[in-house]
């Protein structure tokens, strides 16, 4: 199976109303614990896991994920170690790597794609690689059957959304609010319209992320028609503060999974 096919199957075979996609950061708080966190996500109802690679200047991230990346790097996290984490987690559940463009560019798109295949990863999300800058990445990933998952935002105009939707692989990462990652209270205003607009413009599943931090929000996002929900900062906060991070993150993930039944 190619990476794209694995992602497709994960959405098809989801147990809840929407596929549950927890975000974790590789090497946070350390390499071994982050693997345990990923496996715990898989055991507690994750359909896919998004593995973030720590980066020095994460422009799309709010304070919680930024701080986690800073700490991971301070503790010696590397791209190679992060790919080892992704590999270990990929053995339990389909994974998609989230990585800022400079780390990929630094290795080269082709070499990076080969590393992802080697690690058993199914796709790649580059939060700072918009459509216009993506052709080389798309070609390199397509050649390996990997999904280059694009993001769309509430600010994306319809014509552009159609273009991005047409070139989406795996799923369409739909940002629920204009802003960086981070927990937000209350339902995202206009989430129904956001999801509907995304679904009308692509043939791949629509997954919503940024700001979903409670099971209630996850549930209403599924009600809005999202085929996947991505939980980020809420879980990183748990990993950062709990005495036993993998158990604690697993419990929170289970709460989200239950809300999506």
């Amino acid at each position: 199976m190619t990476g794209c096919e694995r992602i497709g199957a994960a959405f098809e075979q989801r147990t809840g109303r929407a596929a549950l996609m927890p975000y974790m950061m590789a090497c946070f708080p350390d390499e071994e614990t982050s693997i345990a966190i990923g496996l715990s996500c898989a055991a507690n109802g994750a359909d896919l896991v998004e593995v973030g690679i720590p980066y020095s200047d994460p422009l799309a991230d709010g304070p919680v994920i930024h701080e986690a990346a800073t700490q991971a790097l301070r503790n010696g996290a590397t791209v190679q170690a992060s790919l080892r984490v992704a590999k270990a987690v990929s053995e339990a559940v389909p994974t998609v790597v989230m990585c800022y463009a400079n780390l990929v560019l630094s290795m080269g798109w082709e070499a990076f794609a080969a590393e992802l295949v080697e690690a058993g990863v199914s796709g790649l999300i580059c939060p700072d690689l918009p459509l216009e800058e993506a052709p080389e990445a798309l070609a390199a990933l397509d050649a390996h059957g990997l999904a280059l998952v694009p993001l769309v935002a509430p600010t994306t105009p319809d014509s552009r959304l159609a273009e991005i939707g047409a070139r989406a692989r795996g799923f369409l990462y739909t940002v629920s609010v204009a802003g960086t990652t981070g927990e937000r209270s209350g339902p995202a205003a206009g989430i129904d319209a956001v999801v509907e607009r995304a679904r009308a413009n692509t043939s791949v599943p629509v997954a919503v992320g940024f700001g979903i931090s409670t099971p209630e929000q996850a549930s209403s996002t599924a009600d809005a028609g999202a085929e996947g929900v991505i939980i980020g900062s809420r879980l990183i906060r748990e990993a950062a503060t709990a005495a036993d991070p993998s158990t604690a993150v697993g419990l929170v993930v289970k709460g989200f999974a239950d809300s999506l039944r």
């Binding site: 400079n102 290795m107 993001l151 509430p154 600010t155």
Partner: protein, 386 residues
């Protein structure tokens, strides 16, 4: 009018979160419309003349010329309102924001000069202003912090990383991602995603348009070399722009060598010749490790304490049209005192780097962009040199 460049050779581009893409498209359209609109040009022209103090003088530095045995001409951007070239860009972009109907302005600042210039422009035009500034820079550029507050701006301290310019730019961009529909980001140097490097260059180009005409008027000749300090590269690109076609004029950008290029503690990505990388939305010469993690810069001067560089500079270096060199903290501090004593001009620490290089490498007829004045640096220089 030519179109707005997105790339300079391979450098530049738009590596930003999708949320910002429509705003960059809108900004580019607004910019093209503005610069083709005589009303915009007229309004900016009056502000630059009567409010900011343009044109700035071209001044022959007599005693420094005597010392070096050549002719040293200074383009006096230090005499502008707020004390640096940054006001050229801040006024131009604030007017543009107003045309776009954006009432809230975001800016970042290192030395505080761009923050003050933006705060002044916002006060003058009645716009709300938030300036992100690293906590370390708030400490070392205190007078400018007081100035911004007095002007009604909110100064938002940034505590991440080295608490300097790089982090301030990142926080400003994060704010913009969340507020893009109502806010405009006035980036302070010729960096960032397209169309910013081209807009900032076009707004700073007034430096070399004036200086070129002034040199011809005063000496009947062009300078042999144009010398400017480079942080992100806005005063340098503004100082180079009108001379780009004059192949015989050498263009020299002076970066911060900090504690020495070999120490790794510097702010000289162009001189040190690092691999191209992405920082703050564009591909350019940057300081990074083997894996592509961005390195921390170091310079005694807050305005040069930046691991990136404007994409057009990366291209000018690659094509050989401009040359980039670097000056250490110690040499810049010495030049700061020397220029003050010999010329009665206290330069900004940033500009002191350009002076240090020009004094150590005298030329026959040099034009040096005196990008700003050093009042903001007094406390820091005295603390470091006494």
């Amino acid at each position: 009018m030519t179109e707005v460049e997105h790339r300079f050779g391979p450098f530049g581009g738009r590596y930003v979160p999708e949320t910002l893409m429509p705003a960059l498209v809108e900004l580019e359209e607004a910019w093209v419309a503005a610069r083709n609109d005589p009303a915009y040009e007229a309004e900016l022209g009056i502000l630059l003349r009567d409010f900011a103090g343009r044109p700035t003088p071209l001044y022959r530095a007599e005693r420094l010329s005597e010392l070096t045995g050549g002719e040293l001409w200074l383009k006096r951007e230090d005499l502008l309102h707020t004390g640096a070239h940054k006001i050229n860009n801040a006024l131009g972009q604030a007017l543009l924001a107003k045309r776009m109907g954006k009432r809230r302005i975001i800016a970042e600042t290192g030395a505080g000069q761009h923050g003050v210039a933006t705060a002044v422009a916002c006060a003058r035009l009645g716009l709300e202003c938030v300036v992100y500034m690293g906590a370390e820079d708030i400490r070392r550029q205190q007078p400018n912090v007081e100035r911004m507050r007095l002007l009604g701006a909110t100064v938002a301290p940034v505590e991440s990383g080295a608490k300097t310019l790089k982090e301030a730019v990142s926080e400003a961009i994060r704010d913009w991602v969340a507020s893009v529909e109502t806010s405009h980001y006035i980036i302070g140097s010729a960096v960032g995603p397209a169309p910013f490097p081209a807009i900032v260059r076009d707004l700073q180009r007034v430096i070399s348009d004036e200086a070129r005409a002034q040199m011809l008027d005063r000496t009947g000749e062009l300078p042999k070399r144009v010398i400017a300090c480079v942080g992100g590269g806005s005063n340098a690109i503004g100082g180079f722009a009108a001379f780009l076609e004059d192949a015989e004029v050498e263009l020299i950008g002076v970066e911060a060598a900090g504690e020495g290029l070999d120490s790794g503690r510097h702010g000289a990505p162009l001189t040190a010749g690092g691999r191209p990388g992405i920082l703050h939305g564009s591909l350019s010469a940057i300081m990074q490790n083997d894996e592509g993690q961005i390195a921390e810069a170091h310079s005694v001067s807050a305005g040069l304490d930046y691991p990136g560089s404007g994409p057009q500079h990366a291209w000018l270096r690659e094509t050989g049209r401009a040359t980039y060199v670097a000056v250490t903290d110690a040499d810049a501090l010495a030049a700061f005192r020397r220029v003050s004593e010999l010329e009665g001009i206290i330069p900004a620490l940033e500009t002191a780097h350009a002076f240090a290089w020009a004094m150590a490498n005298p030329g026959e007829r040099d034009l040096l962009i005196l990008s700003g004045r050093g009042d903001k640096d007094l406390a820091e220089v005295i603390a470091r040199t006494s």
